[in-house]
Each structure stands twice: as structure tokens, then as C-alpha cells.
Amino acid sequence: MKTAVVGRPAAMPRATASSQEDGLASASPDNPAGKAAHVDPEDDALIERSLGGDEDAFAQLVARHGRRVFTIARHFFRSPETVEDIAQETFTKVYFSLAGYRRGASFEQWVARIAVNNCYDELRRRKKRSESLLTELAEDDATWLETKLAHVSFERHFSEGERALAAEVTDRLLSGLSPDDRLILVLLHAEESSVREIAEMLGWSEAKVKIRAFRARHAMRRALERLSLAEDRKRKGARTQTVGP
């Protein structure tokens, strides 16, 4: 596989065209952001070779950054197929946009930004297809959630066994939220990004990130409250049936 990449990316559409329409930042490295903004000279050398048509160099770039891309995709989606699709889409866009990457910036951040934008696009596609219809929890899940709400703690985290159940419950809760709310919640709590990092990654102002974060937490709170109310109603209904004739 020895096909030159030189020149091709310039004629290609931008990697994050659909996201740009919504105000998300492009994957341009002119706006570096992220946690550890380190520049790896080895990346630059591999990029140069890739642009010269060396497919093995690109394979090395994939090997070096594959795990980061998979981790980002996994923070947004639990299905392994979706995670792999997102990773493929990300590296395809990276490959065809390589000529637009400015050497000296952090390649890892550039790739991460493309991955986040791909996840955001996928969230919006799913919302359009109205795949997320789940609102009710199983009785055991709702009871568990109630217990957790009653005994929240900053220091005590979920046990290993509880995490699977928590993930199921969260999946259902998130399915009712907008793509923007999900995006912010994942970046804040899973990626553990700061407001500034998110702002730089998405091309938003810090004020916008804060407002979106507030709205997202509020939406999650309402979803949790709805579930609590539903659980209360269920309990009252069960009690009425028991007391009744």
C-alpha cells in the first residue's frame, strides 16, 4: 500500500465540516487545546513520511494514537462496534487532512479534537433517528438509584459491581438528553476536561461552556428527579393495591 497523500488532503473537504456548521471548532491545529499540550517530534517525522506516501508511517501514527481515540469514543459510546466505527472515521479524516496539519502543534490534541467532533456528529445522527426512547428504569435499578441519591458521597465511589449497573442506568438517563448536554457531561466528567480545555477544543467561549455545563447538569438533574418521581408513584400504586380490597 504505497499511495502518496501529498496534495490530496488539500482538495478534500474539511475533516469536521458538519461540526463546523454548528459552531464546533475545526480540527485545525491553529487553536491548540487539551490537557498536556506536548509536541512529539517523532509524530512530526511520521507525518512527513506519511505525506510522502509511506503508509507504514501512517500505520505507526495509528498505533501511537489509536488508544487515545478509542478511549474518547468509549467515553461517549458503550457499543464496541460504534467505538471502532468512530475510530475508523477519525483516522480516515486524519489521513485525508494530514496536509493541513501544522507541524509544531500537538498532533495528539489535533486527533483528539477530530475524534470528539466525530462523537458529537454521531450523537446528533442518533438523536435524529430517535433511537433514544428509553425513559423508564427497571424497579431494581430505580431502587438502587434512590439509595444512591440518599447516600451520596464525594469520597465513596461506586464499587466494581455497582459500576455495571450504574453504566446501564446512565445509558438510559443520557438517552433522554440532547447531544450538546451529553457532549458537555462526557467532557467534564469522563474526559475530566476543564472549562478552558473544552472551550478551546470546541471553539466555544468559556462563558458558553459554563452555560452549557449548567444546562446539562440541570437536564441530568431533571432526568434523575423524573425517575425518582416515577419510582415514588410506583411505590404508592403498589401500596394502594395492597391496602385496597
Partner: protein, 169 residues
């Protein structure tokens, strides 16, 4: 730190401003009022962490076939992106072109079929003529009314007789 300060500090941390201070965290664990005020935020953060935590290393590690599949996809994309504008247009309209070609093929088949049926009928008539013409001169029949046929000689003798009878009158 009092409750208001702790809650403000904690809310900032949930909003991504900075992690809650150790003092605030300690206060929260000992203060029921603050926990109640922040319970949804604390639970949201914990749920999101659980949701995003991979169930195993395999979930965040590319499979051994990932690169092969990626190469296949890159090849396909390259082919698609490498087409000239008119090739792209043809590729985009190939469904319509196929449908059009199918309709044309059906119409040609129907036309050919009707053309073949026409000459066939003519051939039948031609065969009849050929059959009549092929009769030996002495036995040639002449069709008359009611589907009866007479030989050439019989017709001639009838005409001669009629002329003779007319002459006698």
C-alpha cells in the same frame, strides 16, 4: 469553610472550573445539608464516571484487525475521492442509468419480437402462393366461389360449351 462556600466551591468543580478543595470534600462528607443540596450533581458526576469507565482493556485497545480494516476503508475512500468530476457524476447517477438501460433493453426486445411475428405471417401467404405456382400445368386448379376448385381444363370446356349454346340461340 461554611456551607455556602463549600457548595459554591463544589458547584464550580462540577462545572469544570477546578477540582473541589480537600476542605470542601471533607465538609461535604460530614454535612447532611450540603450533601442534600448537591446530591444530584454528585450523583451525576459519579454516574458519568461509571458510564465512561471501560469494562476492560480490550474496549480501549484497537483490535489486531483494526489497521487492516482501516486500510481497506482508506483504499475505498481514495478510489472514490480520486474520480474525475464526470466519473463522479456517472457514479452518482449509475442507478438511474441502469434503470434506463433496462427499460431500453425491454423496449428493444418487444420491438424485435413484433418484427419477427410480421414476416412470419407473410411467409405463410408466400408459401400458399408458392404451393399454387408449383402445381403442374395440367393439374392447376382455379378457385371459384364457395371454396370449390376446378381444373384449368374443366374451366375452359365450360366456357366453350356456354359459348356454343349461346351461338345456337
Amino acid at each position: 469553610m461554611n456551607c455556602a462556600q463549600v457548595q459554591r466551591d463544589a458547584r464550580r468543580s462540577f462545572g469544570g472550573a477546578r477540582p473541589a478543595s480537600a476542605e470542601a470534600r471533607r465538609h461535604l462528607d460530614g454535612c447532611r445539608g450540603c450533601r442534600e443540596a448537591l446530591k444530584y450533581d454528585i450523583l451525576t458526576a459519579e454516574l458519568m464516571r461509571s458510564y465512561a469507565t471501560p469494562r476492560g482493556e480490550s474496549e480501549v485497545t484497537p483490535s489486531p484487525f483494526f489497521l487492516t480494516r482501516l486500510r481497506g476503508r482508506l483504499d475505498a475512500e481514495r478510489r472514490e475521492r480520486g474520480l474525475s468530476p464526470w466519473e463522479s457524476a456517472v457514479m452518482a447517477a449509475r442507478g438511474w442509468l441502469l434503470a434506463f438501460a433496462a427499460v431500453v433493453a425491454v423496449m428493444c426486445a418487444v420491438s424485435l419480437s413484433s418484427l419477427r411475428d410480421g414476416p412470419g405471417q407473410l411467409d405463410v401467404a408466400g408459401d400458399l402462393n408458392a404451393e399454387v405456382l408449383a402445381l403442374p400445368p395440367g393439374t392447376e386448379n382455379i378457385l371459384i366461389a364457395n371454396g370449390e376448385s376446378l381444373s384449368n381444363d374443366a374451366v375452359l370446356s365450360t366456357l366453350v360449351n356456354e359459348e356454343n349454346n349461346h351461338g345456337r340461340k
